[in-house]
């Protein structure tokens, strides 16, 4: 019998590639799913919740009462927009985010996303980049109250704290600023422009992380870099060669600085990086850049089968995620959810290095019962030593 750990010890032990008392549990949810889930748990539901990781990703920072009630281990926190506000409305009626990207509300059943329209740098030249109204990571609005909040959560709870400071990233943010198809073509047709844009975005990302880590790094177990979606369901969006030429140099700089500053504040804290999809071919590159926790483990994307990842990279890499939000959680029965949790723990948990969570944000299409089942099953099967 392993001695019972606090949540923070559990997460740190797992991320140090050792076996804690049980598999640590994380959570990531959209606003719509969160409201449904709070109601299901019999907790009060507010009309509004502040945006989570970015203004437009429609996720929330799940509150400590839910984390406590379910016995989860990680609380997420982060920066706010430079003006401390959410979207502004422009003269055409579009919502405008902190990068001056116009967005419109696109509703699906049970929720909505703020989808980018009219990319502002669509026709820009390198010279235009200097005059662009980049978000200012040094603005007070980004950081108001964050230090007090982190300190309070650190002292008043035993939870691990995961923070994201960056508000858009490099490749991902370029898609919104330049247009999804255009930035892909630019990689071949306008590589100099791409480098100029990525260099600028890298500067902004680095400054966000520098500010945030210096402010609250000592309280954190993980810093999550701005999300970057490099993979599709079946393959990378861009070739490994293009990744290495066009993107990796910026990750090397950005991850490198974040990692250095973080370890100075807290030698045990880890760098977490989010990319969806079939990224197998560049996992070693991402490790080389400084990724220590890969987020998410996405079980049904091609080539990133959990057992394969664990076998090849398990000694160097930890994972967040693993329980499929594309099919099992929204469409499966509670029994199927529990079975997937069991399989995932068997594959990913031995030796530590695994935080179980949904493989992406829980959206409103996931029955609340499947979410509680996921965590109940994880507590049942996730006791170390794993005997499955």
């Amino acid at each position: 019998m392993v001695k019972q750990m606090t949540s923070r010890e559990r997460v740190q032990t797992a991320l140090n590639h050792q076996e804690p008392d049980r598999v640590p549990l994380g959570m990531w949810m959209t606003l719509g799913a969160y409201k449904n889930f709070r109601e299901y748990l019999g907790l009060t539901v507010k009309d509004q919740y502040p945006p989570g990781s970015t203004t437009w990703s429609m996720d929330v920072h799940v509150e400590p009462d839910v984390i406590e009630k379910l016995g989860l281990d990680v609380i997420r926190i982060g920066s706010s927009t430079p003006d401390g506000q959410g979207f502004k409305i422009n003269e055409n009626g579009f919502y405008v985010d902190e990068w001056s990207v116009p967005r419109k509300k696109v509703e699906y059943e049970g929720g909505y996303y703020m989808e980018d329209v009219n990319p502002p740098l669509k026709d820009a030249t390198i010279a235009d980049l200097e005059d662009y109204p980049w978000p200012d990571p040094t603005a007070d609005g980004c950081w108001n109250g964050l230090e007090q909040k982190a300190k309070r959560l650190f002292t008043e709870t035993d939870k691990a704290l995961l923070a994201q400071f960056g508000r858009g990233g490099i490749y991902e943010q370029a898609k919104y600023l330049r247009g999804h198809e255009q930035i892909l073509m630019d990689m071949i047709l306008e590589p100099e422009f791409v480098h100029a844009l990525f260099a600028k975005l890298c500067q902004v990302e680095m400054k966000f992380n520098e500010m945030g880590i210096k402010l609250i790094g000592k309280y954190l177990t993980q810093v999550r870099m701005s999300p970057e979606d490099l993979g599709n369901q079946d393959n990378l969006q861009i070739s490994p060669k293009t990744f290495r030429e066009m993107i990796k140099p910026y990750y090397t700089k950005s991850f490198g600085l974040a990692s250095k500053l973080l370890k100075e504040q807290n030698p045990h804290a880890k760098l977490q990086f989010h990319s969806c999809g079939a990224i197998y071919a560049i996992v070693p590159d991402l490790i080389e850049c400084g990724m220590e926790v890969s987020d998410p483990m996405q079980p049904i994307a091609k080539g990133v089968e959990p057992a394969r990842l664990k076998q090849e990279f398990g000694d160097r890499l930890s994972w967040w995620g693993g329980i499929d939000v594309q099919r099992t959680l929204p469409l499966g029965t509670p029994e199927q959810v529990a079975a997937e949790v069991r399989t995932r723990i068997k594959e990913a948990a031995p030796g530590g290095g695994y935080i179980l969570s949904s493989s992406h944000r829980c959206q409103p299409d996931i029955p609340s019962q499947n979410i509680t089942t996921m965590y109940e099953a994880a507590k049942e099967y996730g006791q170390y030593p794993i005997k499955l």
């Binding site: 699906y108 059943e109 892909l184 073509m185 599709n232 469409l331």
Partner: protein, 213 residues
């Protein structure tokens, strides 16, 4: 290498200017527009599709090749004048379902279908069920394709199929579904006629549904 082979090669290599000049040269050699498309531009795009499926090409390469092809097709449009219908293997109507605005996958699919000789009608993104039905009734495609990238918008594929049933025209069209979270099980459950995991399989599935495989 013949001019059409060179044209195909310029599409494969994503050389936009060369695709334009080779298309012009083919016209100057009095090759008819349909042949220039089929044996030049579309032939090149088919090879691009093969390389994408094989994991040799990625989105940037496909996008630039697609642009090369569409620049060539633009030049040929005045010469096609009503001719294109007689040479298509079928008409494929496509859109991303309501609530979903993701269209890179759809746009690649369109290129592959054009490359395979289909006439494609693109309804765009965030397309409500009633718009699918209305457009299909008016334009009479052989196949209607419903794209969804998100698990939250997959149910809209079912609702769109239901709208065809309510309008009593479900049996006039073959309906295909696709998108990252979509599976054969889902396709069966919502009574679609066909599912494909990627753009190349989708072309094969469409041909199978039309009995021209």
């Amino acid at each position: 290498m013949s001019v059409l082979e060179q044209l195909a090669q310029s599409v494969i290599e994503g050389k936009i200017n060369e695709a334009v000049s080779m298309t012009q040269q083919a016209l100057a050699e009095e090759i008819d527009a349909v042949t220039i498309i089929q044996d030049g531009l579309a032939a090149g795009m088919n090879e691009v599709g093969r390389r994408f499926k094989a994991g040799e090409y990625f989105l940037p390469e496909v996008m630039v090749s697609a642009k090369s092809m569409s620049k060539g097709v633009e030049l040929l449009e005045p010469y096609l004048a009503g001719d294109e219908n007689s040479n298509t293997v079928g008409t494929f109507m496509i859109g991303t379902v309501k609530g979903d605005v993701h269209d890179i996958g759809k746009n690649i699919l369109i290129m592959m279908f054009q490359g395979a000789g289909f006439k494609v009608i693109d309804l765009g993104v965030d397309v409500p069920p009633e718009k699918f039905v209305q457009a299909a009734v008016e334009q009479k495609p052989d196949i209607v394709g419903l794209c969804a990238l998100l698990s939250t918008t997959m149910p809209m594929q079912a609702k769109t199929i239901a709208a065809f049933e309510q309008a009593s025209c479900r049996d006039q069209f073959k309906i295909m579904v696709g998108g990252a979270p979509v599976s054969q099980d889902w396709s069966d459950k919502i009574t679609a006629d066909g599912y494909a995991a990627d753009a190349i399989e989708a072309v094969d599935m469409a041909k199978e549904l039309l009995g021209i495989a």
